[in-house]
Symmetry: C2
Subunit: 348 residues, 2 copies
């Protein structure tokens, strides 16, 4: 099995720690290894670094290579331009040698966390076997542990290949409202779409050509004439693999993941997986907390001292400090947007 890790993101949710030139996947949010490095580590020994491919951007490629010296440098692929995940995955498959893309490929986000790596590998291996045996496209679905409106939901259909938990996906529902999400989670018949896909590379390209011909045929033209890559790639519609393929497949299959997954979508989500001290403060670096509880206190540079505060995120870097209540951690996006408006590239 090959791993294709999507590491082109430039998310702003972990500002000020994540920066335009140093996005989330490069951060070591728990432990010493970055999320990207942990994503490579997690598959070993099921997938060794020699079989890892990284899709990233021109701007980030050097950084990826320096964090992942164990991955062959020419398997770190810089997208010609940003065109969302359908072109990115399709183009990466096209760059792989034909014999490689005829095999099983697992697509993995570079910036998620999985507590139980061994459990994850077991599910990934089972998915790989299902692909090999039945040429299925698989999406791994996370077993929900709360009502969440920010994710896509997979409705489970009938069991496949005689395995009770290997199911056909009946329907995708993107970001339902609170009531619908509650019904989904209560029913036990839904999984979260985690953006982890397993398929035969050539089959995925066939699906792409059938379901989203503009992308599929554009990618075929690039494979036929690599010298025109920049020009042809820029002309592809920017569309996601979920929308272009996964949501439209009749026979998409899924296996449940229950491995302590988190997409680390905000500072608040990070706070939940860090080990807190007695009063519930999760701290990193030089931190002094007096009479304070339930805070995330992250001193990347210098010191943080708090007294009498609750439920805050405080992140200090050499340039700035962020203070936001945990329950409003999403508003970091508004800060980043304002800084962009004010031309504060020094902070972005």
């Amino acid at each position: 099995m090959q791993a294709l890790i999507l590491a082109g993101g430039s998310g702003t949710r972990f500002w000020p720690l994540s920066r335009h030139s140093f996005p989330k996947q490069f951060l070591s949010l728990k432990g010493d290894r970055s999320l990207l490095q942990a994503t490579v580590d997690r598959q070993r020994p099921l997938i060794e670094p020699d079989d890892v491919w990284i899709s990233t951007t021109e701007a980030l490629a050097e950084q990826v290579r320096s964090q992942l010296s164990e991955v062959p440098a020419d398997q770190v692929l810089a997208e010609p331009t940003a065109r969302n995940t359908a072109p990115a995955i399709g183009w990466a498959l096209g760059v792989m040698p034909r014999t490689v893309r005829e095999g099983v490929v697992a697509v993995l986000p570079a910036d998620h966390r999985m507590e139980d790596s061994a459990g994850f590998r077991t599910v990934l291996e089972r998915a790989g076997r299902a692909v090999e045996n039945a040429d299925r496209v698989m999406t791994l679905g996370v077993t929900p542990n709360r009502v969440e409106t920010g994710y896509g939901y997979l409705e489970l259909g009938e069991p496949l290949l005689g395995e009770p938990d290997l199911r056909r996906v009946k329907r995708f529902t993107e970001k339902p409202n609170l009531e619908t999400a509650g019904t989904f989670v209560e029913s036990g018949n839904y999984l979260w779409n985690a953006g982890i896909f397993v398929f035969r590379g050539t089959s995925l390209l066939d699906h792409l050509t059938r379901l989203e011909p503009e992308v599929g045929e554009g990618l075929a033209a690039i494979r036929a004439d690599p010298g025109r890559t920049a020009e042809l790639y820029a002309a592809l519609p920017a569309t996601s693999i979920d929308y272009a393929v996964m949501e439209r497949l009749d026979d998409l299959a899924t296996l449940p993941l229950d491995c302590g997954w988190s997409d680390l979508g905000s500072w608040a989500a990070l706070a939940e997986i860090l080990s807190p001290d007695g009063p519930g403060n999760a701290s990193r670096g030089d931190v002094l907390a007096i009479d304070s509880a339930d805070n995330l206190l992250w001193a990347e540079s210098g010191q943080i001292a708090v007294a009498g505060v609750t439920g805050l995120v405080v992140v200090r870097t050499a340039e700035t400090v962020l203070v936001v209540p945990k329950e409003r951690a999403q508003e970091v996006k508004r800060i980043v947007a304002a800084l962009r408006r004010y031309g504060r590239d020094d902070l972005l």
Copy 2:
């Protein structure tokens, strides 16, 4: 009239902006001039810098001279050791030429704020005249504008010298409880002790000798044999001028000050005198506040970005950041105490 400014304090309430080697009186908390500089400015032209004396410590004397180049350098007096205000004032008077200390001297704290300087000078001038004409010891009392348990209260007695608002002080009450403070303020018959005293220097020394002989006689011995200053000064009891003299005088007199006084006792007190923006954030430096109100955001170094927070004090320096709710601003003292315990001299 001479001014004797007490600038030996090393308060910790404005940590992390105030440091052991750079205490509050050196800070520019409002406007460009430091509190110490503003204290000298405030009296002009009633008292010009040539008639200003500063009592400070050995460690701070150079800094005082550099902030106050307009004050003659030999009028910046470094106490031999820290012995509280009674010895400090008595010793400074002893260092002054006899003709100077026979005149009127005003003792002024170096780290308070007065909004209305002209109004203050008017009261100070009247106090000076009362001292000249009747050889009184005067303490200027601040007209209370709220019930406050953190100050000393002066109970007003009968009018003196035919001036209705020049009153005998009947009694000192140090830091009353909330109920008593409420009664005091409601009665309209009390002023806050602001630590601003006006007297004839030689008379103050006489009172000191009569009321606190150990201090008064020790100081006389120093005047008689300045070569033994260090040794004799170190032997003086450390006692405050309030306790040693003011609270014990039968004929202490007072005039009311209603000039926008603040002792700037905490970050919260500072927030009250800074001009807030629309939503009520008082900011200094590079600050971005989104959906946030009623905060004090002080970026001495680098940037501060907040979203969705209310009623916080956030102070960023090159070394650290403080986050504390305004109503718990006093707890900065606990942070400083903890840092001291941990030997964090790099932050103190």
